[in-house]
């Protein structure tokens, strides 16, 4: 019995030694490319984006560490400032508002993604952080209607709604009647005055249930939410720019953002769009596919 144990021990030692040398030999001659630690927030869109960036970088020979679902912005952003992580997929307006809040500056995120990113850089460059180019993909407040209703009334943008608003019920979170991005904004910017308002949630299950039962005609959703296509809804174009621009934007430590990394991430971002992101989110949240697999497929299909 004791002899057997010794054999097992010996075998494991040999195995361990083999693995160690194997690792050493692959690590040795490789280039001096940096190791990049990428974090994500605790929702699937963020994990997908982190792995899209990570897989694309890995294909260029970088070593990637993932810190998936690290937490909310209150945890992830300080981790980037302190250098515990090197990169995460941020959101232009939300990250700007967060950083300004931390620095005690009056929040001034606007409806232009590019401008939001410039402001982000003004606040973050001194901390050794860069915001790269904003992606056309956005995850922000949006208003959706059912596909049937959109087809019937020929609706593609929010200003189209004015002809039917007076007969419609608007659904949104309880704070909607008092927030500029919601009911008051729709009234002021678009001149939309709805028949009634139904207090639901911010683009969550209640909103989708209300669409399904016909309790609302138009509702607040998040523009890239997977539930939009799963529930046969269409997002109306914010043609008069009511919403703050929450474009996806990589936030990265300047120390790892060399020319190759910067141009790679910028070209990945340029290829991302809200439609793809919505489809990826649907696959992850509704069809329960693995976000890392979805990211790998996207990277492969787009040739990164």
């Amino acid at each position: 019995m004791r002899l057997k144990r010794i054999y097992v021990l010996g075998a494991s030692m040999v195995a361990l030694a083999l693995i160690t040398t194997a690792c050493g030999s692959t690590g040795g001659p490789a280039s001096t490319k940096a190791t990049i630690t990428i974090a994500s927030f605790n929702f699937s869109e963020s994990i997908i984006l982190a792995h899209i960036y990570g897989d694309a970088l890995k294909n260029k020979g970088y070593t990637i560490n993932y810190k998936d679902k690290l937490g909310n912005r209150e945890i992830v952003e300080p981790a980037l400032e302190s250098g515990q992580i090197d990169l995460y997929a941020g959101y232009a307006a939300t990250d700007l508002t967060f950083v300004e809040g931390k620095q005690g500056v009056t929040p001034d995120a606007g409806t232009d993604g590019q401008a939001n990113v410039q402001k982000l850089n003004a606040h973050l460059n001194s901390k050794g952080i860069k915001a790269l180019d904003p992606s056309p993909a956005v995850d922000q407040n949006a208003f959706a209607v059912t596909k049937a209703e959109a087809d019937q009334n020929h609706l593609t943008k929010l200003s189209d709604v004015s002809s039917v608003a007076s007969n419609w019920t608007l659904g949104g979170p309880p704070e909607c009647p008092t927030r500029p991005f919601c009911q008051p904004g729709l009234a002021q910017t678009y001149g939309l005055h709805f028949k009634a308002f139904k207090s639901l949630d911010a683009g969550g299950p209640l909103t989708y249930a209300a669409f399904k039962s016909g309790a609302i005609n138009i509702g607040l959703v998040f523009s890239s939410d997977g539930g939009i296509s799963a529930n046969d809804l269409v997002v109306l174009d914010d043609d008069k720019h009511l919403q703050q621009a929450d474009n996806i934007v990589p936030l990265i430590r300047s120390s790892v953002a060399n020319t190759e990394v910067t141009s790679l991430l910028n070209s990945v971002d340029a290829k991302l769009n809200t439609k793809d992101l919505t489809a990826l989110n649907k696959s992850a949240d509704v069809d329960k596919q693995d976000p890392t697999d979805l990211a790998a497929t996207w990277v492969k299909n787009h040739g990164f």
């Binding site: 979170p173 309880p174 704070e175 009647p177 008092t178 009634a196 139904k198 207090s199 639901l200 949630d201 299950p205 209640l206 249930a209 209300a210 399904k212 039962s213 309790a215």
Partner: protein
């Protein structure tokens, strides 16, 4: 003082007393929902508790099942019901009925078992049949307990119907949920005050009913309180 003033001003604002979002409409919704839930809960729970108590069988099981029912959070039930039947009045109704059943089952069962065995024997000795014993002897004696169960249930339902606002239904909870969302704290507190007042009114009026329901011969100066679930478990285990 300033805040109390704001709440008072909220109540005095005429706009809060009219329309679909006004106090009268929300109060009506709340009372109608609570009343309907209590009626259905009683229609389900009373026969179970009374019959099991009358025959003295299966009580252990009934009380344990009903205690498990008490352990399920109403909010969880509400969310599950929304998943199954969508938003609106139905999920709130389902959750409130489920909430209302356990105290009624437990109390009516205990009320029936508490009837003195000698009294029951005497009734049989006088030639009463089982059904007559039930209607003429056991039920009148058990009535204070049964009423206590209904009262507990009613107050639970009225207080919990507030949660329905979280799944997009109306009622007085609307003021609380919307007040929180809009950071309109006077509205939130006004809603809380309204629900509190309604619960107290229900509590006191049912206590009065319970007193009236108590047979003259059994009346004491004290009203029987709800024998809590602990007592129920002990009795069931005994």
């Amino acid at each position: 003082m300033n805040f109390i003033g704001q709440v008072a001003r909220w109540f005095l604002d005429g706009a809060h007393w009219q329309g679909d979002g006004g106090i009268p409409h929300r109060l009506t919704e709340h009372v109608a929902m609570s009343g309907a839930s209590l009626l259905v809960a009683a229609a389900i729970a009373l026969p179970i508790g009374v019959v099991l108590g009358h025959f003295g069988r299966g009580g252990n099981l009934a009380i344990n099942i009903s205690n498990v029912g008490r352990a399920i959070p109403s909010f969880a039930l509400l969310v599950i019901a929304v998943e199954l039947v969508g938003i609106g009045a139905v999920p709130a109704f389902v959750a409130l009925v489920a909430l209302g059943i356990p105290p009624i089952v437990t109390n009516s069962y205990i009320g029936m078992r508490e009837v003195d065995a000698d009294v029951r024997e005497a009734a049989r000795g006088m030639g009463m049949r089982s059904r007559m014993v039930l209607w003429r002897v056991e039920l009148p004696i058990a009535l204070p307990f049964i009423m206590a169960g209904l009262r507990t249930s009613a107050v639970n339902i009225v207080a919990t119907a507030t949660l329905a606002a979280l799944v997009a239904w109306g009622g007085l909870g609307r003021f609380i949920v919307d007040g929180l969302g809009q950071q309109n704290y006077p509205m939130l507190y006004a809603g809380a005050i309204l629900v509190g007042l309604l619960s107290l009114i229900v509590e006191f009026s049912l206590a009065g009913l319970q007193r009236l329901a108590t047979p003259a011969g059994l009346r004491t100066s004290k009203i029987i309180r709800d024998p809590d679930s602990k007592t129920a478990t002990n009795l069931a285990a005994a």
